[in-house]
Amino acid sequence: MKLSLNWLKNYVDLDGISTDDIVEKLTTSGLEVDEVIDQKKIYENFIIGYVQTKEKHPNADKLSLCSVQVGEEEYPIVCGAPNVDAGQKIVLAKVGATIPNSDFTIAKTKIRGEVSLGMICSERELGISDNHDGIMVLEDEVQTGSSFSEAFGLDDVIIDIDITPNRADAFSHVGVARDLASAFGRKLILPKFDMVETDQSVNDFAQVTIENDTDCPRYIAKVVRNVTIKESPDWLKEKLTAIGLRPINNVVDVTNFILYELGQPLHAFDLDYLAGQKIIVRSAGKDESFTTLDSKERKLIETDLLICDAEKPVAIAGIMGGENSEVTNKTKNILIESAYFRPSAVRKTSKKLGLQTDSSIRFERGCDPEITIFAANRAAYLIAELSGGEIAKGTIDAYPNVLKKKEVSLRYDRIKKVLGFDISKEKVNEILESLELEIVEKTEDKIKCSIPLFRHDIEREIDLIEEVMRIYGYDNTPSISKIGVSVNSKEDQTEFGVSIRKTLTGLGFYEIITNSLLNEETANSFGNPVKVLNPQSFEMSHIRPSLMPGLLSTISRNIKVKENNLRVYEIGHIINKINDEINDFSDFDESDHLLLAVSGLADFSDWYSNEREYDFYDLKGIAEAFLEESMIGGRLKTKFNNSSDNLHEYSISIFSGKQKIGEGGKVISSILKEFDIPQDVFTFDFNLDELKKLKKEKEVFKDLLKYPQIKKDCAFVIDNNINFNTVEKIIYENGSKLLKNVELFDIFESESLGEGKKSLAFELTYFDESRTLTEEEVEVEFWKAIESVKDKVNAELRGK
């Protein structure tokens, strides 16, 4: 909300306090200042000048050469405005002036050969209207040499503050003045006025009936007759424009003025358009609709509250009035509404209609049901003053549901318990009273406060403590200088993630973090995604069911900037639906995954190496190293999928029992095409929630081997379609516990071996932890293995 400092000063004496101090105090007492606009500073180099002479520019048809006099000095100015003339008083932006709302600063220039030391301004250039037809020509009375801001009363400071949802009371100049009065120890001054009423009673002109007193506890009406609708006087227009509002007419401007002065939203009806001159406050009927002031038809439901006349709705309560009863230039008689509506009722309707107004935003946070009378009277007084109208006698005050002030107690020792330090009882009482929180009971240990109805946020003891502290100043409160740490052991659920990231960094991988919101088509092709009800855009309508799309997009994006050689991974949650309807956490699966990828060149063409692209075995090696380094224990089984599925051309899956913990392979080309990736990509996905369960505790130290190992080599010629691991398994199965390792050290195919044959060469390692083996016993073991391989896969032993 924008505040005018000049306006604020009507309600609290801020003499002797600098703008900086005011701004600082607002922020440190909970009304955060967003921006401060000091008009004097903005118009620093704008002064009133007199155009002494005007000649045609020698080198340009449309330009004039003016001599502008300011006091003793004369400024040569090149001006392009058609209406500039000698004898005018004008606003001159001198060298150094910055045009408001722009970055343009006036400098000394030469325009077509003629020196210009400034600019004669239009209203638009001064930021005071949209008029840019020509320069702004001033009245003769204006003193030349005076500053523009002084001459036009633009000496205000505009302060933009953020109001948190709890501080409805601060949504007006008086509300903010109350906080400042308390913070600076000054007095709040409410506006005074003498209202003159006619003899004829308001009840002769209007009636009010409240049918729904839950949503409308109080409705006040005031009538002003025989008004003349016209432009508002300058003082009112200036106040409104200063805080960014557009003046409309004297009646509407007064209602807006009161809203920003007191925080009470008002509505002015054209009384002659209220059928039966009646106001009925009721809930909307089924399928009722209503056209609001902005010419939009609004469909209503039964929980919406309407202001109606004898025949029809005339306003949506607390949100917006209707076209059918709005104040126009012809309006003669006015009914002013000053009501209190239940906050959540207004909010519900405003949310549902997607219609938020200055009025609704105040009602939904909670207005002051007690200021309604004062506000109605003040509005009537001002409207009568500005429009020549007559105020009907008295006020209609329908208050069927009287709201009572709450009483809240505060134990002094609780302040110390929560804050950790004492504030004297006197200080506590002083602060609360300065905020108009009346102390109704006082004992040695505690007080009881009566809470004014404009403070919807104070309901409990803690709320009073907060008020005390807010005004006392958060920065004036001490903080401890030593921190006690409990002796209990610490948990860290992120530890596994931290350690695998270290491993992957060591393996040369870059971590990426991608958007978890995807478009529908992409999301659907990678799982069973959950849809977002209210997405920002179609591109981000579904929650990722897989890390794959984010990773492939990253690869694609990098290739476009010539970063083709990639080792990347992402760790993050993926979410897949289990049931179509999500009513419970069991209806979807959210799990933590790791997806890693290699793509592009594994080895570069360099002075020491030849170029080589990543292949499946790079991926597999990395996956194996990763599993080992991450200390994944238990018996893992690998399944080989030589045929293509919807993700991979070929792949392997790793299982622990029946639980799949990881899967990786070569991404199929149709997906790569989808993501515009022109090179092979190999990915491996791990379910980290499952992996975490398999993580081994730190192993105890194993003694180093004291006895020699014996290594034996052999090579087999077998059919090409027999997997390495089939042979490996046979060797292990036919070895005793002395066989400790089987290593494949060579593989080749050649014509000399025969069609469809390959050779696999193994090194077998034997040892015993407790003794030296004899050559003979190893020989027996070794040959047993060889014979069984020959036997089971029809292999031939080579070279022996």
């Binding site: 958060y474 921190i483 991608t514 919101l517 949650h573 002075w607």
Partner: protein, 329 residues
């Protein structure tokens, strides 16, 4: 005779000093020390001398030859050393074999730094789901339905009861419901806000939330703890302020600003986190005794802190994952 010896020596000295390679050295050897070389000739001549002349010249001839031989050997050694050096020469200026190191994302690095500080202050670390219930994300945290406080966090809903969590605070709820105080916890994670993508906001960001519930927790301790964090993260001379704010789940609530100066720009206060004392309504919701226990909570955005620390002005670059960006950290 004497002249001839002297001139042989002079000739040798002159030639050997000019020697550049083994070939010219070999020529010198043949010319002076070879089987038909100058010194062989001189010795032949010496044999012809008379008995009385022999002692006179023999000594000089022997001395000269051995000094020439010695000089020759020296030069030969040097030359061999030189040539052997160039055949085994290592060009140490060649680029090394490339080793490409990976890195964790800068947001992870920033988070780790934050975690380490709080771990040292005795906080345990917990995580929770991103797809949360409205109950845990809002209701339990004192955001009633139809309350304007809900506008503070634009929400992606999945339906009336489920949403993408807007803060890590539901992890607080989960902890307080299942554990007994004292609870001293740090809760990092992804959170989502339904905001248009821009340089300043993204649809998701990473939050770190802290919670401490015990019998004697105070606002003064909250302040002290966060000041400790600010000093450890930004340096001992960090200038900070606490100012009142509003969060439904804390009362009183505060925001913490730090004074930030960049070269060539005027300094300004920048908000780095929100905090406060756990609201009694929250304790009531999770079943913690309000009279016995007090708690504090705080939360900060990792992106915001990283942007400050590393001078990043557009939040979207964190999620672009351009390798040229990733490599910088």
């Amino acid at each position: 005779m004497l002249d001839r010896i002297e001139s042989a020596q002079k000739g040798f000295d002159a030639e050997i000093s000019e020697v550049k390679d083994t070939a010219s050295l070999e020529e010198i050897r043949i010319k002076y020390l070879g089987r038909k070389g100058l010194f062989t000739e001189l010795f032949e001549e010496f044999k012809q001398l008379s008995k009385e002349d022999k002692p006179k010249y023999g000594k000089i001839l022997n001395q000269t030859k051995s000094s020439v031989q010695q000089k020759f050997d020296e030069v030969k050694d040097q030359l061999e050393k030189l040539t052997s050096d160039s055949t085994d020469y290592i060009d140490l200026s060649l680029p090394g074999r490339k080793v490409e190191l990976g890195s964790t994302h800068i947001l992870t690095q920033t988070l780790n730094e934050i975690k380490q500080i709080f771990q040292a202050l005795g906080f345990s670390i917990f995580e929770g789901p991103e797809l949360e219930s409205d109950h845990n994300n809002f209701e339990m945290l004192n955001f009633p339905a139809d309350h304007p406080a809900r506008d503070m966090q634009d929400t992606f809903f999945v339906n009336d009861n489920f949403l993408l969590r807007t803060h890590t605070s539901p992890v607080q709820v989960r902890l307080m419901e299942t554990r007994k105080p004292p609870i001293r916890a740090l809760m990092p994670g992804k959170v989502y806000r339904n905001e248009a993508l821009s340089a300043k906001s993204y649809c998701l960001f990473h939050q770190v939330e802290g919670l401490y519930v015990d019998e004697d927790v105070t606002f003064a301790e909250l302040k002290g703890t966060l000041v400790a964090f600010a000093k450890q993260f930004f340096g001992d001379d960090v200038k900070y302020r606490f100012r009142p704010s509003f969060f439904p789940f804390t009362e009183p609530s505060a925001e913490v600003d730090i004074w930030w100066e960049q070269k060539g720009k005027p300094g300004k206060w920048l908000e780095i986190m929100g905090c406060g004392m756990v609201d009694p309504n929250v304790f009531e919701n999770v079943g913690i005794d309000n009279d016995k226990y007090v708690g504090y909570a705080f939360g900060m955005g990792v992106e915001r802190i990283a942007m400050l620390k590393y001078g990043v002005s557009d939040i979207r670059i964190f999620f672009d994952n351009d390798k040229r960006f990733l490599k910088q950290f």
